[in-house]
């Protein structure tokens, strides 16, 4: 490990090709590949102090105070005591340093933990257990079941038949189903033979490290033969080995070069847009400060020249006017430094912290079922929550629960699933009180399955042939594996939850799928065991959008059962079904309207002779060397014809609670929601419809699914032209003026009507290339909704980065899995869904909570308030400090530009610290323009935040002008009022000390009244703070001006007696009252007029709230009525896969010994859940749920043996 972590800087020239020789560390080490140790920490004990201080002083404010401090210790210019700066500075620096240190210690700890995990490495033909960090490229390692994959490996051999291994990639791409990888036969043959493996000297030549998870190219040269390698042979770090006893792998990429780590976006320190604006403003303030000081210095020069030199009799001074002016410049820098008060940054942190606690404390964001409260993990980003313009959401686990339920069906033209009122016939809403169907007659029923329509079970019991056929099909036509650990305790392993849900439904209605062999499917039909001979599986693929099985019933009847997308099946139905088709179509529309995923079921009886002839041709095609796929497709097409319609199923992909309502609310708040999912297009689209992202009313939903850059560009352009026919090609780019490093911004373009855009991962990859990204962004931003499917984690981050780069908008990413981590890190705000198994997303998030629906409260209530409070705080804070400071400026013209402060030094010290700190803090912790209920009732209230209306450069300039005016009043009203006057007893009334006290009082009272005006929510605490601070001013003023303190230190408390001699004068109070009102009344008038003439949304809502004396709008639960005629293409969310394994010409048989342990049934709630979205692998080392043990799937209960006979 290098000392300063400079190894990243001293990057060696780009690797073009990677060459590895197995078991030859010496050879491999010549290439200097990264080892498997990872480092996410930033400091070590020696570098901490210098590096951390260096980082901290990069903040403009800290550096500024350091310079100020240096100035203050120079006697010639010191106009204020040095400790006024040093105490807060040290405090700020040490708090920040402590926080950074703790963070880094945690990173060190997790690095160490992950680096010290044990794995078996094959060294010199012997397996030795060693730490992960010692694994090197070219090593052969042995992995065991449920272990995390140590590095990116080339799979050599495995315990499973055909050298298969099963891995779970949930942490990589978010997909929950198990994936199969297979090694080359040539390496697989080595098996567990340590000798063979130890002497294995294959050479791998492959691509350099990259972040493409779905692609790998390389070759293995072994025994002079070259074998090509692809993604199928590679196990990636981040996966978990499942259902595989052991496997051996050759390390290809290690540590930081693994695809997982390459996919982990850099974790950067996030700053809010207010922070960035503040940086600009601070520069501006420095400019202002310098300008003021230059003016005063020049003034001093002129004064010294004209007046001062003559005044020398009374005060001999510096003769050189230029030098005097120079010193004056620096003296004024010190005096006027309060324009950038250090307490500003501390206060901002306190406010953010306070507002973060509100998030943690909010009971409305607490999820009772998982006992998870919301958590603000980053406490520096709160106000950004009130400015979100784009929300990037993951789908599975975030929008959906990843639970499928069999909700409705249509059998032979009759719809089942709805519950009706017994007498009126009114349709009832299904609630928790509705009695579910009692499946106790069926000992094999899954108790978690719920169905409410009793007529369906009656139909089954009546043994209606259609209903029976319906469920028989569901029990036969699938690729699910059944496992029966105990008699009657069935567990299904399905590749997609949809399929699982269908088979489970059939099981509960008495058609229990019990087991399968490659040739048979055994089901129990209404208590009767029957074994069907499985003759063929015509598996699903994207084009076919259907799957069929051909079975022979125990009676010897040949049948084909098919399920698939309605449009596809309807084309292949027998003409006699027309009538039924109409009825079923109605039902399908109804189901689709409710957002359910539909499938149409059909069957066909097959003639024995035809089938044997077909089978023969099938065999020929399947061994054909050319166009095998096409030939098979043709054959399938031929047999799936003239089918008889049975009915349709409707499956609900259960959304998380309140998703649709939340999305509606966010849309009203003009937040654009982009869904970025690893799921396939159909599924994503379907969810888009069911959670109201895509709507039937939308003018159009564009789908971009092209295979070449040109096509993608064309499709994007077509879409854009359709939305807005008259778009000038380059007008949408506006040059960014400030901070030149962002060259251009893409402006928002308004579009008539609502559009949606769906783009798949392939096209997205092209669209994100530099030539096309603007085209893509421009089109996408015109749409209300964008759905990107099949995207990799890095693409998710790229999309976020793209929007961040070209849009002046604040982005939020929300997700639950490790595949969302990069996106969460990339977005301005990352939100993790907590309370589930995986913790990856939460760990890298800024905020976390259990349910997507809490997002609306986080943004519309907490975010809005935080933003409002922060802006009010900043406006007021600048106002009060500028006003305070500008008075010095005006006074300079009357005191010979001598850097004489207007106020007493004690007041200067206490003004920010005591007199005005708490009221403004109280405001920024308690203020609400309208309460939470109203905030949610009117999501439009969120819009000003997106437009940064409450605090911007403009608002800041207004502050400056306002302060100018106030400071003029505060200086000149006392000036005029005390001019040539005296106290009521004739003694001195216009001396410096009295004048100082009068202006101090005017200033304190004015800023206090101004605060009262800004404060719209006066709680007890606010009253306490405001009146307390004002009282404190008088108490402390009197205390500081007493004899006691004067005796202790006469030079510091020289104002002795001023308060009692001055504040007993009625004209002083009249002056204070006049000043305060002169400062405040114009503001009141301005606010009144703007509220009357051009009321903002806030004014309107507040007015409405005032008129409705009862300020508690009821929470709404509107039932979303979705009328949609759109239907899913095909409900299954899985890709082609198992079907092959089940039917391929491999003979599967049960293993002699059964590995049995109690299986934790995976489902949690009604519905079907195959393998939980599981276990986190964490690149920063944390085994989230070590308890979870995944058992072998039933698939592996079969040993496969290659058998050429079909």
């Amino acid at each position: 490990m290098s000392f300063f972590g400079l190894d990243c800087v001293r990057k060696k020239e780009r690797e073009v090709e990677r060459k590895i020789r197995a078991n030859d560390r010496e050879y491999n080490s010549t290439f200097k590949y990264a080892t498997n140790s990872i480092k996410t920490s930033k400091y070590n004990p020696f570098t901490f102090l210098p590096l951390n201080l260096f980082e901290q002083f990069q903040r403009i404010a800290n550096a500024y105070f350091l310079i100020l401090l240096i100035l203050q210790v120079i006697p010639a210019i010191s106009s204020l005591s040095w400790f006024t700066t040093v105490v807060p500075l040290v405090l700020v620096l040490s708090v920040t340093a402590a926080k950074d240190a703790i963070d880094d210690i945690n990173r060190h700890r997790s690095d160490r933990k992950v680096n010290n995990r044990k794995v078996n490495i094959l060294i010199n033909g012997k397996l030795t257990s060693d730490k992960w960090m010692n694994v090197q490229v070219g090593d052969i390692i042995k992995l065991e079941n449920n272990q995390f994959v140590t590095a990116d490996l080339l799979l050599l051999s495995s315990s499973e038949p055909l050298n298969l291994v099963y891995i779970e990639t949930a942490e990589l791409d978010g997909e929950t189903n198990l994936k199969v990888k297979q090694s080359l036969t040539v390496t697989g043959d080595m098996g567990e033979d340590l000798g063979a493996l130890g002497s294995f000297n294959g050479e791998v030549c492959c691509e350099p490290p990259n972040n493409r998870l779905d692609r790998f190219t390389g070759t293995l040269t072994f025994d002079t033969q070259k074998h090509s390698l692809d993604n199928e042979r590679v196990l990636l770090r981040g996966c978990t080995l499942r259902n595989t006893d052991w496997c051996f792998g050759l390390v290809l990429f290690a540590g930081p070069e693994t695809k997982l780590m390459q996919n982990c976006g850099k974790s950067t320190f996030k700053r809010t847009s207010i922070d960035r604006l503040m940086n600009v403003l601070v520069l501006f303030i420095f400019g202002l400060l310098a300008l003021m000081c230059i003016i005063l210095a020049v003034g001093n020069g002129i004064w010294e020249n004209q007046t001062g030199s003559e005044f020398n009799n009374f005060l001999p001074r510096e003769e050189n006017t230029a030098f005097s002016a120079f010193l004056t410049f620096w003296s004024y820098i010190i005096i006027l430094n309060t324009v950038v008060p250090i307490s500003l940054y501390v206060s901002m942190e306190v406010i953010r912290l306070g507002n973060s606690y509100y998030i943690n404390w909010d009971r409305n964001m607490y999820h009772a079922r998982s006992d998870t409260p919301a958590e603000a993990r980053t406490t520096t980003l709160n106000e950004e929550l009130g400015q979100i313009k784009y929300v990037f959401s993951d789908k599975t686990g975030t929008l959906t629960q990843n639970i499928m339920t069999f909700n409705k069906c249509s059998i032979n033209g009759k719809s089942y699933g709805d519950v009706y009122q017994q007498y009126s016939g009114e349709r009832l809403e299904i609630t928790e009180e509705t009695t579910p169907v009692d499946f106790s007659f069926n000992p094999l029923a899954d108790p978690k399955f719920l169905f409410y329509d009793h007529s369906l079970i009656e139909a089954v019991k009546l043994e209606l042939p259609d209903v029976q056929a319906f469920f028989r099909l569901l029990a036969l036509c699938h690729t699910v594996m059944a496992e029966e650990k105990k008699e009657g305790h069935l567990v299904y392993q399905a590749q997609s939850p949809d399929e699982g849900a269908l088979v489970t439904a059939a099981r509960n209605f008495g058609f229990v799928f019990r087991s399968r062999s490659p040739e048979t499917i055994t089901i129990e039909e209404m208590g009767m065991q029957r074994s069907y001979e499985l003759l063929a599986i015509l598996d699903f693929n994207n084009v076919r959008k259907r799957m069929s099985v051909i079975v022979r019933s125990p009676e010897g009847k040949l049948s084909l059962y098919c399920k698939g997308a309605d449009t596809i099946i309807y084309e292949r139905l027998h003409p006699s079904c027309r009538k039924l088709m109409e009825a079923t179509t109605d039902h399908l529309n109804e189901f689709a309207g409710e957002g359910l995923r539909t499938l149409v079921l059909a069957y066909k009886n097959i003639d024995e002779d035809y089938f044997s002839e077909w089978k023969q041709r099938h065999h020929e095609s399947s061994v054909a060397l050319e166009d095998r796929e096409e030939k098979l497709d043709e054959l399938y097409e031929e047999i799936e014809k003239n089918m008889m319609l049975i009915g349709a199923t409707a499956i609900e992909d259960k959304l998380q609670d309140g998703v649709a309502l939340t999305i509606e609310q966010l849309a009203k708040a003009e937040i654009k929601i982009w869904v970025l999912t690893g799921d396939k297009q159909e599924t994503a689209e379907n969810i888009g419809y069911s959670c109201n992202l895509l709507r039937e009313e939308m003018n159009d939903v564009f789908t971009v699914a092209a295979h070449s850059p040109e096509e993608v560009r064309q499709e994007l352009r077509d879409a854009r032209l359709k939305m807005k026919p008259s778009t000038e090609p380059n007008k949408f780019l506006v040059p960014e003026v400030i901070l030149g490093n962002t060259p251009k911004l893409v402006q928002d373009e308004s579009v008539e009507g609502e559009y949606g855009l769906v783009i798949n991962g392939h096209s997205l990859a092209f669209a994100l290339e530099s030539g096309m990204e603007l085209e893509f962004l421009r089109t996408a931003c015109m749409c209300k909704t964008v759905i990107c499917c099949r995207v990799t984690p890095l693409q998710k981050a790229q999309v976020v980065e793209l929007v961040k780069k070209y849009k002046k908008a604040v982005t939020l990413a929300i997700g639950d899995g490790a595949n969302d981590v990069s996106m969460i890190k990339a977005a301005h705000i990352g939100v993790g869904i907590s309370g589930q198994e995986g913790m990856q997303a939460v760990l890298s998030s800024d905020f976390s909570f259990a349910q997507f629906r809490f997002l609306q409260r986080l943004l519309l209530v907490h975010g809005r308030w935080s933003y409002l409070r922060m802006c009010k705080f900043l406006r007021y804070f600048f106002y009060k400090n500028f006003t305070f400071t500008f008075v010095h400026f005006w006074y300079a013209f009357f005191c010979g530009f001598s850097a004489q402060t207007v106020y007493d030094e004690g007041f200067i010290t206490l003004y920010n610290l005591v007199y005005t700190a708490l009221p403004v803090l109280g405001m920024s912790l308690f203020d609400q323009d309208v309460n939470a209920g109203w905030s949610l009732e009117f999501p439009q209230l969120y819009v000003p935040g997106q437009l940064s209306q409450y605090f911007s450069k403009r608002a800041f300039m207004m502050c400056v002008l306002h302060s100018c005016y106030s400071s003029l009043m505060i200086f000149f009203v006392p000036y005029a009022a005390t001019y040539d006057t005296a106290r009521a007893d004739g003694t001195e009334g216009a001396d410096y000390q009295s004048f100082a006290l009068i202006t101090q009082t005017c200033l304190t009272v004015t800023v206090c009244v101004q605060l009262g005006l800004d404060l719209s929510y006066w709680t007890v605490v606010n009253h306490l703070f405001v009146w307390g601070s004002l009282g404190m001013f008088f108490i402390l003023t009197f205390t500081m001006y007493t004899d006691g303190l004067f005796r202790i230190r006469p030079s510091s408390f020289a104002f002795v007696g001023t308060a009692r001699n001055c504040l007993n004068q009625p004209n002083v109070w009249l002056t204070v009252a006049l000043t305060a009102l002169l400062c405040v009344l114009p503001v009141v008038a301005h606010r009144f007029f703007s509220c009357q003439i051009a009321p903002t949304i806030n004014d309107k809502v507040r007015n409405k709230m005032r008129e409705m004396k009862e300020p508690a709008p009821r929470p709404r639960h509107p039932r979303l009525t979705r009328r949609s005629t759109r239907r899913s293409g095909y409900a299954f969310s899985h890709a082609q896969g198992y079907g092959d394994l089940v039917t391929s010409r491999r003979f599967l048989r049960r293993p002699a010994t059964s590995r049995s342990t109690a299986f934790n049934s995976a489902g949690r709630s009604p519905g079907f859940k195959p393998t939980g979205r599981s276990a986190g692998y964490s690149p920063v080392g944390r085994e989230q749920n070590p308890k979870q043990k995944v058992e072998p799937t039933s698939l592996q209960k079969f040993r496969t043996v290659i058998d050429s006979s079909f």
Binding site: C895, A990, A996, L1081, V1101
Partner: protein, 305 residues
């Protein structure tokens, strides 16, 4: 659903944590703003008239009359001038008689390197003109008695400034080993030759001078006319003023003035407050009328939210 007891993570349900603290939510509605402006306006006009009339009454030279001297273009508020004093010394701490604070420089030590007491520029520039006022009655000068007591702040005389402890019953001895400020004709303990108690740091004229002015144009109280025939004011007639000119102002373009004035409950004569109150009050009244018109014209309907 778990009950409260089990769920340890559930946040507390308090008005504070749930941000539901009862609160007063004032709104700048027409019902408050318009009458508010009107009331403030009327009140200001009332106060303004009162102030203005009071200020006008001051013109007459009725007793007690105050005698001020005024200086202009004189920067008592210059920072380095202001810090050029030693409060330790002035509170009678003889330790600082030997070594005055650095801030007094260059008026800390005289040419013989003897410490100057009182040190510093303020003390050094002490105004030392003296005045005598005569009423001319039938060609004869009648001295108007001037009262020099109580012209400084009570707190300055009693708290802030103290003479050093007497040495052998003599103030002069306490100043032993120190030098008088350069510009002074006499040392501090001989400032008032007529009144022994009006010497040292507690000399009233010195105290008045040391309370430095806020602005380069200022007046300072010289004497009060409270005695004899003049207690009720200066009767109309001819007066003559004798000025013992010691203090140079011409070399810095300054001016000296003599002002006779009396005071009211609101201090010296100053018309500003009265006029300002009248103007602001009138503007408020006008504004409230404008607001009423705007309100009537623009009153937005509640339905357009």
């Amino acid at each position: 659903m778990k009950n409260e007891g089990e769920s340890s993570e559930r946040p507390d349900n308090t008005a504070f944590t749930q941000q539901r603290l009862p609160a007063w939510q004032p709104i700048l509605s027409a019902g408050i703003v318009i009458p508010g402006f009107l009331i403030i306006g009327l009140a200001f006009i009332g106060i303004g008239i009162g102030l203005f009339l009071t200020s006008q009454t001051i013109q007459v030279l009725e007793g007690p009359v105050f005698f001020y001297y005024g200086l202009s273009n004189y920067y008592q508020n210059f920072r380095k001038y202001g810090v050029s004093t030693d409060y330790y010394q002035l509170s009678g701490d003889t330790q600082y008689f030997k070594s005055p604070q650095d801030s007094c420089s260059p008026y800390s030590y005289d040419s013989q390197n003897k410490p100057i007491v009182p040190c510093g520029a303020i003390a050094n520039s002490f105004f030392n003109d003296t005045f005598e006022l005569y009423q001319i009655i039938n060609g004869t000068k009648k001295l108007v008695p001037l009262d020099g007591k109580g012209i400084a702040w009570w707190t300055d005389y009693n708290i802030k400034y103290r003479n050093p402890t007497l040495v052998n019953g003599s103030l002069a001895n306490a100043f032993d080993g120190t030098s008088k400020p350069l510009n002074w004709p006499r040392p501090a303990y001989e400032l008032d030759l007529t009144d022994q108690n009006n010497n040292g740091f507690l000399n009233q004229d010195f105290l008045v001078w040391m309370r430095r002015a806020a602005l380069p144009q200022f007046r300072k109280l010289y004497r009060r006319i409270t005695e004899g025939d003049y207690a009720a004011g200066l009767p109309a007639g001819n007066y003559s003023l004798t000025v013992h000119y010691n203090y140079q102002v011409l070399n810095f373009d300054g001016q000296k003035k003599i002002i006779f004035s009396n005071v009211s409950w609101m201090g010296g004569k100053n018309d500003f407050l009265g006029i300002a109150y009248l103007v602001v009050g009138s503007l408020c009244v006008v504004m409230s009328v404008v607001m009423l018109i705007v309100y009537a014209k623009f009153k937005f309907s509640e339905d357009d939210v």
